[in-house]
Amino acid sequence: MANEQPFLKSHFRDFYLKNDMPLVPEIEKREFGIGAYGKKIVRRHLAFDSARELKDFLVVNVPLYVSVSVGYYSNSHARTMNAKGWSGADLIFEFDADDLPTNCKEKHDFWECPSCKAKGHGLKKACTECGSKTLVEMWFCDECLQAAKDDTFKLVDDFLKADFGFSSKDISINASGNRGYHIYTRNKAVRELNKDAIIELSNYVTAKGLDPQFHRLRFQGRVLHGPKTSLLGWSGRLSRAVQSYLREVDPEVFAADFGFGIRKARTLLGDRGRLIAGVDRGYWDQFKLKNLDSVASAWERIAARAAVTSSAEIDTQVTVDVKKLMRLPGSLHGSTGLVAAQVSNLESFDPLKDTIAFKSGSVKVSIKRAPEFRLGDEVFGPFQNASIELPTAAAVFLIARGAAVLAE
């Protein structure tokens, strides 16, 4: 990386010279951290009293990664966490395309086993030959970024707004500049939340610890009742998810779930409308089976599955860490050269276009290996030991990812 680091630094400096960062609310109460090539945090405990001071620092030092604390501190300049005086935090959520199960990973990710040298496509964390921990090269595409966007919608609409009652002005969304989105919620009430409260909110969103019995799934006499659709929050959500199950389930799966014969399953599902209407009113079990325990456990399993599908797969470790440093909105991501851009309209936001920082010029690079990828309106690759002139954004992207070097 002898030439590549100065190349990246020069482009990053140019970007920070020409662009102002979006305002960080209460910047003087935040901790900042910076990173260098291959390491996202090499120095923390930095503090700035104004946006101007921050900008000057970025232009002079040109870090490849810039992070800002979600926490607020009464003495952000202090060198130890204890002395900083934590006084609350933003509530944050992160979606990373890596964590979402999508088929595209077979197309664009690579793994290699450092022990037995086996290799292949896909996101395999253990070697298929010897079981050792693999080295994985993760990429992203429209499909997995769309999955992250879908989950962001689910989080914002179903949980943050509908359940927690946040308004649009309390919520801001940022592209991470890499594989996902960061969602920030800020208001006075959020600042008053303690760590236990944040863990409760995180578990609520992920349905961790959800017990259907506490959502009215219980016997009344010999009849099993479940939550009605008119109920609020998770109870109503479970009920509606069970209705979807009854609407879509195949007779074979239905039979296996409840231990029916296939003929009985077909007969029951012949009148799906009646079953769905029953759930609407809280009558979940309309099968008149003798083994009540097995019916109850079947419904519990289905409700638990429904909870998983209705939940949002946030990175919980990010949410519960009230002192975490997150990518500074508006800054460049050192692993991609893309901007951690603020998203004003999630529907129309294109994470592979609206995050491009370097829009002019071209650079000749030697590429070791890269899958097909899109940036802006152009599709590049796949590449294998290729030497090619690329638009600056694509060249920076590959160099920052360590997949290319500047051509001689």
């Binding site: 130890t80 909110l201 578990n203 609020l232 998770w234 470790q317």
Partner: protein, 344 residues
């Protein structure tokens, strides 16, 4: 003057502001406490220290009986507070909140009771629920039972909607914390007999609830750990570093169990990123041995779950702490038993 209704309310809910006002009016002088009253208060504390249930019910509800009851509780609270024993404080708070729950569960106008404690409680507009409470107020104190956890309640528009039964449970939880937090004051300078009684109660509590710790010379056996901790331990043994929370979890677990710092350092030495100075600094920080640092305890199962480190070991069904898991497997503790004893 307080009405009979005020006195009844204070009797049923000794953690209420009404009870505090009445206690203040009693003008109890700690230097001049009648011997009989003091010994009854001591009786409450020692029952708790032994882990016994305390019967707080009064034979009659006359105003003098209620005043006597409140005086007894105040003195008991001072003894518990002076003991500085977390176990005793927790048991006292549980006893009070359980006592109040016996009334809460029968209250006809439970919402009126709730209004005395909560600012944001209101009647629910949805007839499937009895009331709603603002989300922040609901989350103000840790929720100690699964039924109360946010994910097991219905939340909409920034409010948590509760049935009457769930509201009673919520108020019990609130009663626990209001009582527990009432200990957050200085007990320096209490009369000698309170301090002596507190010291005795603390020693008694300690002897009945020794922590799960390896006795010096006892060998640490990794296979006795729960699968979550074992996974982290294996990672370290293979020279891989767990996540930040994984590191905190395994390090505090080993230190809490009494594994010597040197052995923990040796474990971290296998990582290619190992830096002895940093590792020792961090371990001492977690152990509360650095200036200004507080001792970090090993995370409970609930915290492990929140940190994404819980592997849902079926053996853990009735255990709530990785240290309990080790203690059960090591035979120091019977499954389901409350107390514990140290390693043989």
């Amino acid at each position: 003057m307080f009405s009979a209704e005020d006195l009844q309310f204070a009797y049923k809910y000794p953690f209420s502001k009404e009870a505090a006002k009445i206690v203040k009016s009693l003008d109890v002088s700690l230097d001049d406490v009648p011997e009989d009253l003091f010994s009854r208060a001591e009786g409450v504390v020692f029952s708790l220290a032994k882990g016994n249930k305390v019967n707080l019910a009064l034979p009659d509800s006359s105003s003098s009986a209620v005043r006597d009851f409140l005086s007894r509780l105040v003195l008991a609270r001072i003894i518990v507070g002076s003991s500085d024993s977390e176990v005793l404080k927790s048991r006292f708070s549980t006893a009070i909140s359980t006592f109040s729950f016996s009334f809460l569960s029968k209250e006809v106008n439970l919402l009126d009771v709730a209004l005395a404690f909560l600012e944001t409680v209101d009647i629910s507009e949805n007839k499937d629920y009895s009331c709603k409470i603002g989300l922040n107020e609901f989350l103000k104190y840790p929720l100690r039972i699964n039924e109360l956890r946010l994910v097991n309640n219905d939340v909409s528009g920034g409010f948590v909607y509760l049935t009457k039964d769930r509201l009673a449970l919520f108020l019990r939880n609130l009663g626990f914390w209001l009582t527990y937090n009432s200990f957050a004051r200085s007990y320096k300078g209490v009369p000698k007999k309170f301090a002596a009684s507190a010291k005795a109660a603390k020693e008694f509590t300690y002897s009945s609830t020794a922590t799960f710790k390896l006795k010096p010379g006892t060998k640490f056996q990794p296979e006795l750990m729960c699968s979550c901790m074992l996974e982290l331990y294996k990672k370290l043994s293979e020279g891989l570093l767990p996540s930040h929370y994984g590191n905190v979890a395994i390090a505090t677990f080993l230190l809490s169990l009494g594994v010597p710092e040197e052995d923990v350092v040796q474990l971290y030495k296998r990582s290619p990123k190992f830096n002895e100075g940093t590792a020792r600094y961090q371990l001492r920080f977690l152990a509360g041995k650095m200036e200004g640092s507080t001792k970090y305890s090993a995370p409970s199962c609930r915290k492990m779950e929140a940190w994404g480190l819980c592997l849902k070991d079926p053996l853990c069904q009735k255990l709530r702490h990785p240290l309990s898991h080790y203690a059960v497997k090591a035979g120091w503790k019977k499954p389901g038993a409350k107390g514990g004893s140290s390693g043989k």
